[in-house]
Subunit: 511 residues, 2 copies
């Protein structure tokens, strides 16, 4: 098994490298000069962090792309990064804000200039180059509040509850950080969906909180089942203090869109059990299934009446990185936090102020996202044409991905109702499972490594997101162009069939 | 004392607001619905964080500026934020990278376009809008390595050791996070200068590490005294495990520039005691005293010989936010980490990857900072004229600030050798000290609050940075224009004299 030994060597690169462990030198006084920071003395919480989205597979893919690693067969660099060919308006406004002399140029539409002028007026020194307030630029926070009110059909939004963040991740980590306390059985527990976006599990590890898994129902299009929430909560109560429930809607990596009824159930549950609610709604503009609609947790909470709306603590998160813009490099985002205790709010502002402010260009990009052009503005037609094109293509690719994957024997894919990913279940033959175990890696990791080496396609193994034991998945974005995605799905199908055949032809594993 | 009661009320606003503490509601089942997150259930580490640079004084100044708070006397909004009227080239390159269609415009110099093209080629999808690698864009890391080699007169720099960060703060927090471990007497101790930039103390509180203070020598221009390092280390060893030494050079808030000899002593000490060295060099371009010169810790380490250069673990930090550019809103920065254990390095990359990537526009700005125009390039003359003007004005203001402050009875200011701040010692009369104590605030906080209310000048009290007990200071930036700064210093002088007179005329405090 030459191939396997290669794989095993490669996988271990940088992960179990011991060559410098014994680097000790004698210093002037005859004492040993050891490294002060080794795997033995590293913060154990840092060691515990796992983050598959940028894990070994993606590192390896990057190495391959940069020619640092050779692949054994035909090489096709399809590394699925998030990038959308985005509307002009975002980048026009950011360019204008960055270099305001361009405001005199006739090559920009007037509405881009108006937006840029408004943002600059809110910035210190009228420049993106100054720090902003820690909560973000006031006028951008006001625009966000207006956006939320419109999105939620008039549910009131107070810009004092809006905080600009460095992508959504920054906000999520900040809120979690506030909620972690206690020791032993009173240590804070954080309920997260499984499968989940691994930022949650990474932050929980780093903060030494207790991760409480509630499993999404794969047989029911990854829906959230309220009985499973109760089960997970009751079981966790035995050994920790459940304080927060996190929901990702639309789901990452699972792509489901939650029904209004289900959101009501979650909010009622949070109300009854005194949980803080964190709703990750970064894919709110990415809903493709005609049967589905995005409902914000806030709007549903409002409709449940003041008894709920005035009490349940809810933080919801949005970002510039998804939607139909995909401006992830600017690291823009915001959170809206409802019903926060006033003293705690001052603590939150203090905590956020330690990082001074979120990148101001990301704040500017966020402003355009919540403030798209109106019918009378010059950018309107172009912007909405681009938006329709991006969302239309994503909807088409969501459907195509599901369909093609479901033609492959041993792959079963739920509908991609929203977000940007398919998360199909894959059958891995017992012989392959055993082989992976003997290499000390998870079977879906081995699957994805082989896929990368043999086809250049970079997918993230399901084990990085969490999955029911004995099931295997991968996450795949639907972001390449339709043509490219089709080629890619076909290559994937061929690989999968070959993989199944290869392991079926091997003798049965000994038990 | 009407004034004081106002001050006291204002100070308490948002800091001891108890009005919503009793917000309890009965839920449907007759249970109480309490807030899940209150001061009692907040993460105690978050509560412990202090961050004066954006503390109550700055919050209050912002409220005044936005008309949310009235001031009793003439109002003059001099809130000293960091903003430098910066060179075109930075913002031109960021604008070009943001909106690459501008590359066809004739209104940009060719060298700005070349830089933008090079950066874009290194970016995913040739766009600032995509995530970059977690360590940053490769070609920018390469440019940084070249810059460091030139700065350090040929000391080799490997771009594999360079990590782009979200401002310098992000890098500092990430490195500290790796180094914190152990419990009780083996808990990690972090040596920091006093006075210090409060990011350090805030991060230490948040991570529950042990803060080890070494005091800078105010009587000797805030120099670092190696005997004081030994004293602090030996004392700390009794109750924790000192693992890191942090140095800020040039100093924030103290403005001193470290001599080469002193850096050698620190590095020798770190070598002997097996400490990880963190050198915060964000003000490396801000040296004004003709007698002083910036020496990087790395260069000095190199000159101490391979025994040191190949063993001492050193992380040094730089940023787009200072220097002669002051592009703080872009949140650009980098760190170079030497002699890191290879396995630990993989852990660092993993940790950084959880936040996906630093803002790509900040990375682009960093690239221009390390890659200024060369003599044959069209932007050269303009750029260097601007650079000289900015640094010349800062040097002039550094001197003027020291001189004017030293004419005021009861204020004593060390030379502002570098960085962007004066940190003068102020005499606060015993009666004023007692009054502050009775209000439950530090005397320099009371001083700065009154200064803000009576003159609109916003300074940060020394207690936010740390100071020897019984001494009082404030931090003041030298960033306003020369004319404005002069007016400001005169107003400050008048205030100080009035303040002294007022408290001298009061009866002596009863003891």
């Amino acid at each position: 098994y030459h191939r396997l030994s290669i794989m095993s060597t490669r996988y271990s690169r940088g992960y179990s490298n011991n060559e410098n462990k014994c680097l000790k030198k004698w210093n002037a006084n005859g004492k040993m000069r050891e490294k002060s920071l080794t795997m033995d003395t590293l913060n154990p919480q840092v060691k515990a962090v796992e983050y598959a989205v940028r894990g070994p597979i993606v590192t390896k893919a990057g190495d391959i792309e940069r020619g640092l690693q050779q692949v054994t067969t035909t090489y096709l660099p399809i590394i699925l990064t998030i990038h959308i060919n985005t509307s002009c308006l975002y980048v026009q406004v950011v360019a204008l804000c960055s270099f305001p002399e361009l405001l005199d140029s006739s090559s920009f539409p007037e509405d881009a200039k108006q937006r840029a002028r408004r943002i600059l007026q809110g910035c210190g020194g009228q420049s993106l180059g100054s720090y902003s307030a820690s909560q973000g630029v006031d006028c951008i926070r006001q625009d966000i509040a207006v956006y939320i009110e419109q999105r939620d059909k008039g549910v009131p939004a107070d810009w004092d509850n809006i905080y600009l963040t460095t992508g959504a991740s920054d906000g999520i980590v900040s809120i979690l950080k506030m909620l972690v306390s206690g020791q032993g059985r009173s240590r804070s527990g954080v309920m997260i969906p499984i499968p989940q976006y691994p930022l949650y599990s990474a932050a929980i590890s780093e903060m030494e909180a207790v991760q409480i898994n509630y499993y999404l129902d794969e047989d029911n299009c990854w829906a959230l089942d309220i009985n499973e929430l109760h089960r997970a909560y009751q079981a966790a109560k035995e050994h920790c203090h459940p304080r927060v429930i996190c929901i990702i809607n639309p789901g990452n990596p699972t792509g489901q869109v939650q029904s209004k009824k289900c959101i009501e159930e979650v909010l009622h549950f949070a109300y009854e059990e005194n949980l803080f609610v964190m709703s990750d709604e970064v894919y709110q503009d990415n809903v493709y299934s005609p049967d589905c609609q995005f409902h914000s947790f806030k709007k549903v909470l409002y409709e449940m009446g003041p008894e709920y709306f005035n009490t349940v603590e809810l933080a919801s998160f949005h970002s510039t990185s998804k939607g139909y813009s995909g401006e992830c490099g600017f690291r823009g985002g915001y959170m809206e936090v409802l019903n926060l205790d006033l003293e705690v709010k001052a603590q939150l502002v203090k905590l956020l102020s330690v990082r001074l402010c979120p990148p101001v260009s990301g704040q500017a990009a966020m402003d355009v996202i919540v403030n798209p052009p109106l019918p009378h503005e010059p950018s309107y037609l172009q912007f909405h044409k681009e938006k329709r094109a991006v969302l239309g293509a994503l909807a088409e690719k969501a459907q195509m991905t599901e369909q093609i994957l479901n033609t492959v024997p041993g792959i079963k894919c739920n509908p991609v109702q929203g977000a940007m990913y398919a998360f199909p279940r894959i059958f891995i033959p017992p012989r392959a499972v055993e082989e992976a175990m003997s290499l000390g890696i998870s079977p879906d990791m081995m699957y994805c490594l082989r896929l990368l080496e043999e086809t250049g396609i970079c997918l993230v193994p399901g084990s990085g997101f969490g999955q029911r034991e004995g099931t295997y998945h991968f996450r795949m974005t639907i972001l390449p162009t339709t043509e490219k995605l089709k080629v890619l799905l076909e290559k994937l199908r061929d690989f999968h069939i070959k993989f199944l055949k290869e392991y079926a032809s091997l003798e049965e594993p000994k038990r």
